[in-house]
C-alpha cells in the first residue's frame, strides 16, 4: 500500500501529502515524493497533512524498533530518519506541516523539520516527545532541532518529562506558527470540515512562504538570542538539569541522562557531532532492559484499554456512588466529567458536603490550570446529585459502594440498595480486601455483583482492578470494564480471592517492611532504600498513605486467609500504632509527622518507643541495603507469581500493569513478571531460598517460579 500521496492542489500552489505512521517503507516512499516535489515545476511549496483523523503522526512504529536485534540496527534506523528529515529541512521549496490530532515522537520530529507549522487548536491536538517514557530519546534529529526552536530550558522540559503540549501552549512556545480553530457543523461533519479547513489554511501559508509574503522567522527573546549563546550560561543549565534528573531518577533510568548529553554535544560541538551521538545513543538505549520494560508497559497499557468482555447490553448512563469519602467522591469526579449522571449518596450531611467539595476542588484545579473553563466545570458539576436518601436509585444502571470496609455494613447497604434499584442495575463494591463472593452472599442477584477496586487518589491513579466471582455474569463484567475505561482507567480483571491481586501482593511486602523496621532500620532509611530501588513512594511512607488502621485490617484478614506466608512483621506493632492514634497521613501522625505546608516532614518521635518494644535482632547476613531491597521485592514477586499460578490473574501482562499502575512497582523494571524475566527466575528462587533459610516459610518460592527456574528460557513475557 502506498502511504504517501502527492496532490498538486492547483497550479503553482501547494501540494498535500498524506501520511500516518513512520515505518521503513515510508522512508523510501518519502524520498520518492520529495524528489517529485523538487522535479515538478508546478509545485512551489508543500504541505504535510495526515489522512488519518485524530493524528498527524503518532510516532515511529514500535514494532519496527522491537524487531531490531542489535544497537547498530537501531542506530541505522535513526540515521535513516535523520536523513529523511534533513531532506525536508533543506528543501528549497517550503514545506508546511498541517497538524491535527497527536503529533508525538517521530511525528513531532517531522513537524519541526518542516519550515512552518499550522495546528488545530483542539483538545486532541497535542505535541510532545514521549520517547523518554519508553526509555528512548528523540532519534530523528529532535534532540538537535528542538533546543534551537523552543530554547534550551523548554526543550529539556519537553524531552525529559515527555509531557504532552496542547496546541495553544505550543503556539506560545514557538513550537507551532499558526493555530486553526476547530469548526462546527456546516455542510459536512465538524471533523471533516475542520481537516479540510486546516488544509486550506496550511496551503495559503505554504503559498505565502513560496512567494515570500509570509516569513518563517520568529523573533526570540533575550534569553534565546544572547544568554543561551554563552557557554557558561548553557553549562549552568546542564548542571541544574542534570542534578534534577539524578535526584528524580536515582540513576535508574539511562534515557534522561543520555538526552542531556546528546543535546550538550550538539550545541557545543556542532550539528555533525550532535546527529551522530543522537543516532548512537538511540541505538544503545533501545536495547537496554529499562527501555524494554517501559515498552512492555506501554503495550500492556494498550492491552488494558480494551474490553475483552465485549460491549455491554446496556450502557451505564446513571451511576450511583455510596459513600462520599475520599474514594467515593473520587469515583464521582472521574464519572461526572465523562458525562455520566452520578448520584453521590452519603449518610450524613457533613460527609456529603466534604465529598461534594472534593469533586468541586478537583475540577476547579483544572480550571486554574486552564485545562477546563469555569463554564465547563459548572456544566460538568450539573451531572452530579448529592443526597442522603435513595431517591432516584430506580433509574441507576450501576451502583458503586465505597462505604466502610466492614462486611456487615456492606451487607446492610447491599440489601438496602437491592430494594430500590431496577433489575438490570449492577452492584459494584469498591473494597480493597473483602472477598466479593462474601459480599455477594447477601445478594438476591449475585450475577450482578462485581468488585471495582479503585486506587487513591482516584482522579490521579490510573489503575482499576475489577474482580469477578464465579457467579458474576459476562455482561456485568463487560459493563464494569466499560465504565472503567470511560473513566479513563487502565483496567485489569482478576478473579475473586482474599486481597484479589493488588492488595495481596502488597501484603507480604508491607509485612516485610514492618520486619525491617523491627530490625532497627529507621523509617527514613527504609524509604531511602525502597525509592533507590525505583519505588516512587518509600515503603514506610506508603503505610502512612494507606492508613495504618486500613493496613492492620487488611493484614489481619489476609493473615487469616494465607497463614504464615503473610507473616514476618508483627501485626501487634500496627495495632499499637492504631491505639496511639498514629493512623498515618490522615491523622497527621504515622511513622512521620505531617503538617500542612511543611515539606520536609520529620520522623514521629512517638514511634521510638513502639519500635523499641517490638525490636528483634537483625541477622547481618540478610540485612545489607541490597538484601533489604530484595527481601521486599522477592516477596512481592513471589506473591504475584502465586496469583498467576492460582488463576487470580489471567495473564502476566495484567499482573505487571496492576503492580506498576496500582502499587508503584518500579516502572523501570516493568512489573513483577518482567522483572522475574530480566532478573532471572533462577536467581530469584536462589534469593528466596536464602531468606527462607533465615526467616522461614514466608519466603518459600511458589511452584510457578520454581518451574520457571528449572527450565531456562521459559519466560513470562516472550
Amino acid at each position: 500500500m502506498k502511504n504517501l500521496v502527492l496532490i498538486v492542489a492547483d497550479q503553482k500552489a501547494g501540494f498535500v501529502m498524506l501520511v500516518n505512521t513512520l515505518s521503513k517503507q515510508l522512508s523510501a516512499e518519502f524520498t520518492d515524493v520529495m524528489n517529485e516535489i523538487w522535479a515538478n515545476e508546478a509545485v512551489r511549496s508543500a504541505v504535510l497533512i495526515s489522512s488519518k483523523p485524530g493524528s498527524f503522526i503518532a510516532g515511529a512504529d514500535l514494532n519496527m524498533l522491537e524487531a531490531c536485534k542489535t544497537a547498530q540496527e537501531v542506530t541505522q534506523l535513526s540515521q535513516d530518519g535523520q536523513k529523511m528529515l534533513e531532506k525536508i529541512e533543506h528543501s528549497p521549496k517550503p514545506v508546511v506541516a498541517a497538524i491535527s490530532g497527536s503529533c508525538l515522537g517521530g511525528g513531532l520530529e517531522v513537524a519541526i523539520a518542516c519550515h512552518y507549522r499550522v495546528a488545530t487548536k483542539d483538545k486532541k491536538t497535542v505535541l510532545g516527545t514521549p520517547e523518554v517514557l519508553l526509555g528512548l530519546l528523540p532519534g530523528a534529529g529532535g534532540t538537535q532541532r528542538l533546543p534551537k526552536m523552543v530554547g534550551l530550558p523548554a526543550a529539556f522540559d519537553m524531552m525529559l518529562t515527555g509531557r504532552n503540549i496542547r496546541a495553544d501552549r505550543a503556539k506560545k512556545m514557538g513550537l507551532v506558527d499558526q493555530l486553526v480553530e476547530p469548526l462546527g457543523p456546516g455542510l459536512k461533519t465538524p471533523e471533516a470540515r475542520t481537516i479540510e479547513y486546516l488544509e486550506e489554511v496550511a496551503i495559503s501559508f505554504a503559498r505565502g512562504l513560496a512567494n515570500k509574503t509570509v516569513s518563517a522567522k520568529r523573533s526570540r527573546g533575550f534569553m534565546q538570542n544572547y544568554a543561551m549563546a554563552l557557554p557558561f550560561v548553557r553549562q549552568q543549565v546542564y548542571k541544574t538539569v542534570e542534578s534534577k534528573v539524578q535526584k528524580q531518577t536515582k540513576g535508574l533510568y539511562p534515557a534522561p541522562l543520555k538526552i542531556i548529553e546528546v543535546v550538550k554535544t550538539g550545541l557545543d560541538q556542532g550539528n555533525d557531532a550532535g546527529y551522530l551521538i543522537e543516532a548512537q545513543s538511540f541505538g544503545q538505549l533501545a536495547v537496554t532492559k529499562e527501555s524494554k520494560a517501559l515498552m512492555g508497559l506501554y503495550h500492556g497499557q494498550v492491552h488494558c484499554k480494551k474490553n475483552k468482555f465485549g460491549t455491554p447490553q446496556k450502557e451505564v448512563k446513571t451511576l450511583a456512588v455510596l459513600g462520599a469519602g475520599l474514594m467515593g467522591a473520587g469515583i464521582a469526579q472521574v464519572s461526572v466529567d465523562k458525562g455520566i449522571k452520578t448520584i453521590l449518596k452519603d449518610t450524613t450531611q457533613k460527609g456529603l458536603d466534604r465529598g461534594q467539595q472534593q469533586v468541586y476542588k478537583g475540577l476547579n484545579s483544572k480550571v486554574k490550570k486552564k485545562s477546563l473553563t469555569s463554564f465547563e466545570r459548572d456544566s460538568i458539576l450539573s451531572n452530579m446529585l448529592g443526597q442522603l436518601d435513595y431517591e432516584g436509585f430506580e433509574k441507576a444502571d450501576m451502583v458503586i459502594e465505597a462505604v466502610f470496609e466492614d462486611i456487615n455494613i456492606k451487607h446492610k447497604v447491599l440489601k438496602e440498595v437491592e430494594a430500590v434499584i431496577p433489575a438490570h442495575c449492577i452492584f459494584a463494591s469498591n473494597t480493597s480486601a473483602l472477598p466479593i463472593s462474601q459480599i455477594a452472599a447477601a445478594s438476591k442477584r449475585p450475577e450482578k455483583v462485581i468488585g471495582m477496586h479503585y486506587f487513591s487518589p482516584v482522579d490521579k491513579m490510573q489503575l482499576l482492578e475489577i474482580i469477578t466471582t464465579d457467579k458474576t455474569s459476562q455482561d456485568t463484567a463487560a459493563s464494569a470494564v466499560a465504565v472503567g475505561l470511560k473513566q479513563g482507567k487502565v483496567v485489569i480483571v482478576v478473579k475473586d480471592g482474599p486481597g484479589f491481586y493488588t492488595t495481596r501482593c502488597l501484603g507480604p511486602m508491607l509485612s516485610e517492611v514492618v520486619r525491617v523496621l523491627q530490625e532497627g532500620v529507621d523509617p527514613k532509611k527504609v524509604d531511602a532504600i525502597s525509592t533507590a530501588f525505583g519505588f516512587p513512594v518509600g515503603a514506610a511512607t506508603l503505610i502512612d498513605e494507606v492508613g495504618v488502621d486500613v493496613a492492620t485490617h487488611v493484614a489481619e484478614d489476609l493473615g487469616k486467609a494465607f497463614g504464615p506466608r503473610f507473616g514476618g512483621g508483627s501485626i501487634d506493632l500496627f495495632k499499637l500504632m492504631v491505639q496511639r492514634g498514629f493512623l498515618g497521613r490522615k491523622a497527621g501522625k504515622g511513622f512521620y509527622v505531617y503538617q500542612e505546608g511543611v515539606k520536609n516532614r520529620s520522623v514521629n518521635s512517638g514511634m521510638d518507643e513502639i519500635l523499641e518494644k517490638f525490636r528483634v535482632p537483625a541477622n547481618p547476613d540478610v540485612c545489607s541495603d541490597e538484601d533489604i531491597q530484595m527481601r521486599l521485592v522477592t516477596r512481592f514477586v513471589n506473591e504475584a507469581a502465586m496469583c498467576l499460578q492460582e488463576g487470580i490473574l489471567s495473564s502476566p501482562v495484567e499482573g505487571d500493569i496492576g503492580a506498576v499502575f496500582g502499587l508503584g512497582f518500579p516502572p523501570c523494571l516493568g512489573g513483577p513478571f518482567r522483572f522475574a524475566d530480566s532478573f532471572g527466575a533462577r536467581q530469584l528462587v536462589d534469593k528466596l531460598r536464602k531468606y527462607e533459610a533465615v526467616y522461614g516459610s514466608q519466603f518459600t518460592p511458589c511452584q510457578l517460579l520454581l518451574d520457571h527456574a528449572n527450565s531456562p528460557g521459559k519466560k513470562f513475557h516472550q
Partner: protein, 453 residues
C-alpha cells in the same frame, strides 16, 4: 450582540468615501405598489388579532458620533416621542410599555420606565424592560403581543434602545485605564464582547461559522456591498419611512442613518481580518458595526385600532424562539427558527413575499442561507426530514440590513418588523418573515401579514 467594537478600525478612512457607481446596478424588483395577492389570512379562531399601527426609529448612528454624549433612555425617549408625534395616540390609552435593551446602564436599569416618563407618557402607564441580546426588541414586541392576545391589554408600546457608553466616568475608572497602559496599548484593540459560556467573541464565532460553510472572503464582501448598495438606494428613494428626525441637544438635528457606505470590492478587499488573524475572512467591512439608536412600535388589538380609527399596517402572526449550541451554532438562529415558524403558520417558504433577516455578519447571513438550503444539515442537526430552502435574494433584505443601516443591539427587532410591513405594502406582498440570531445561541422568527388595504 454584535461584533461590537469594529469602531476602532480605520473603517471610514479606508473605504467610506463611497464609490456609488454600483449602487444602482442591483434590484429591478422595485415596482410601484402592486395589488396584494389574495391568499388566506392567518387569523386563528379564539385568538385576538394583534396589529401594528405604526413603528418608528431615530436614525441609527455609528457609535461615538452624534449620540455620544447621551444616555440609552435619551434615545428611547426620542423614539417614543417620534411615535407619539407620528400617531397622535392619546397617552392615556397606552396600557403598557415594554422596552428591550442589552447592556443596562446602572442608573436606568428599567430603561423603559425612565424613557416613558421622559417622553411624556402617563405616569399611570407601567413599563418594564426585557433583555435577550440582539433579539431584545423582538422579545419586547412578542411580550406585548402576548399581553394583548391574553386580553390583558389593548394598546402596548414596544421598542428597543442601545447606546454604547465608552467613557470612563469615575476617577477610579480613569486610573484603571492608566494602569492598563503597556507597550501594545496603542495598537488598536477590539473591545469585543465574549460569549460567557465559551469565552469566544461573536466575530470570532462568525469567522468559524463562515469557514464551516466554506464561505469565502469574496462572497462576504460582495454580500456586504449589496447591503450597503441597497440601503443607499432605499435611503435615496425615501423608502426608510420609519426614520424620525431627532434634535440632539447641543447638536444639529439628525435625520439620516450614517453608517451606509457603499464602497468598492477593491477597497473592502484591503481590510485585514478583524478576529481570526491573520487568515480569517470576517473584517470590519463585512460585519455590522457598533451602532447607537432606538426604535418604538405601537401595537393594538385589531378591534381597538379600528375603534380608534387607525388604519393598521400589519398583523403580527406566529412567532418562535429557538436556541442551539452557543459555540458552533451561535449565529444559526434564523436557520432553526424559519422552518418552525412557517410550519406553525401553515406556510411554505414560497408563500413568503418579503424576508427581513438581521445581518450580524455577511458570513453569518450566507452561512444561514447555506444551512437552510442543506438537507444534510436539516437531517443531522435539526432533526428534520428535509431542508426548508434558502430565501430568494430578490425578496431578501432589499432595503439594506444591519450591515449597512446599523445594528443597535436592543433596537433592531422593531426595525425588521416595520420594514417588512412597509415592504409588503410597497411590493404588493402578503406575508413577511422576520428572523434574527442572538448571543447565547438563540434565535427568533415571526410572520408579519400585511393588513388588508
Amino acid at each position: 450582540m454584535l461584533s461590537s467594537a469594529l469602531r476602532n478600525l480605520p473603517v471610514s478612512s479606508a473605504w467610506a468615501a463611497g464609490a456609488f457607481a454600483r449602487s444602482f446596478s442591483c434590484s429591478s424588483q422595485f415596482q410601484a405598489s402592486v395589488q396584494p395577492k389574495t391568499k388566506k389570512t392567518l387569523g386563528k379562531t379564539g385568538v385576538k388579532n394583534v396589529v401594528v399601527v405604526e413603528g418608528v426609529r431615530i436614525p441609527f448612528l455609528q457609535s461615538g458620533t452624534s449620540y455620544a454624549d447621551l444616555m440609552p433612555h435619551d434615545l428611547a425617549r426620542a423614539a417614543l416621542q417620534g411615535l407619539l408625534t407620528r400617531t397622535n395616540v392619546p397617552k392615556d390609552v397606552v396600557d403598557y410599555i415594554v422596552y428591550g435593551t442589552v447592556i443596562q446602564e446602572v442608573k436606568t436599569s428599567n430603561v423603559a420606565r425612565e424613557a416613558a416618563l421622559g417622553a411624556g407618557f402617563s405616569d399611570k402607564t407601567p413599563a418594564h424592560t426585557v433583555t435577550m441580546a440582539c433579539i431584545s426588541s423582538n422579545q419586547a414586541m412578542t411580550t406585548g403581543v402576548g399581553m394583548i392576545a391574553a386580553g390583558q391589554c389593548d394598546v402596548v408600546v414596544a421598542g428597543g434602545t442601545m447606546l454604547t457608553l465608552n467613557r470612563a466616568k469615575s476617577l477610579g475608572q480613569k486610573l484603571s485605564l492608566i494602569s492598563k497602559i503597556r507597550p501594545d496599548y496603542f495598537t488598536p484593540e477590539l473591545p469585543a464582547v465574549a460569549e460567557f459560556s465559551t469565552s469566544e467573541t461573536m466575530g470570532h464565532s462568525a469567522d468559524r461559522l463562515a469557514a464551516a460553510f466554506g464561505i469565502s472572503r469574496l462572497e462576504q464582501d460582495e454580500y456586504a456591498l449589496r447591503s450597503h448598495t441597497l440601503a443607499k438606494k432605499a435611503q435615496d428613494e425615501g423608502l426608510l419611512q420609519d426614520v424620525v428626525p431627532f434634535k440632539v441637544p447641543g447638536k444639529d438635528t439628525v435625520t439620516k442613518d450614517n453608517g451606509i457606505r457603499p464602497s468598492s470590492m477593491e477597497q473592502m478587499g484591503k481590510l485585514k481580518p478583524a478576529f481570526v488573524k491573520p487568515y480569517g475572512t470576517v473584517t470590519a467591512a463585512n460585519s455590522s458595526f457598533l451602532t447607537d439608536g432606538a426604535s418604538a412600535i405601537l401595537i393594538m388589538s385589531e378591534e381597538k385600532a379600528l375603534a380608534m380609527g387607525y388604519k393598521p399596517k400589519a398583523y403580527l402572526r406566529d412567532f418562535v424562539y429557538v436556541s442551539q449550541d452557543p459555540k458552533d451554532q451561535l449565529l444559526l438562529g434564523p436557520t432553526y427558527a424559519t422552518p418552525k415558524v412557517l410550519e406553525k403558520a401553515g406556510l411554505s417558504l414560497s408563500d413568503i413575499d418579503v424576508f427581513e433577516f438581521h445581518e450580524a455578519f455577511a458570513g453569518q447571513i450566507l452561512a444561514n442561507l447555506k444551512a437552510m438550503d442543506s438537507d444534510w444539515f436539516a437531517q443531522n442537526y435539526m432533526g428534520r426530514k428535509s431542508k426548508v430552502g434558502a430565501p430568494p435574494l430578490d425578496k431578501f433584505n432589499t432595503w439594506g440590513g444591519s450591515l449597512s443601516l446599523g445594528h443597535p443591539f436592543g433596537a433592531t427587532g422593531c426595525r425588521l418588523v416595520i420594514t417588512a410591513a412597509h415592504r409588503l405594502k410597497k411590493e404588493g406582498g402578503q406575508y413577511g418573515l422576520v428572523a434574527a440570531c442572538a448571543a447565547g445561541g438563540q434565535g427568533h422568527a415571526m410572520i408579519v401579514e400585511l393588513y388588508p388595504q
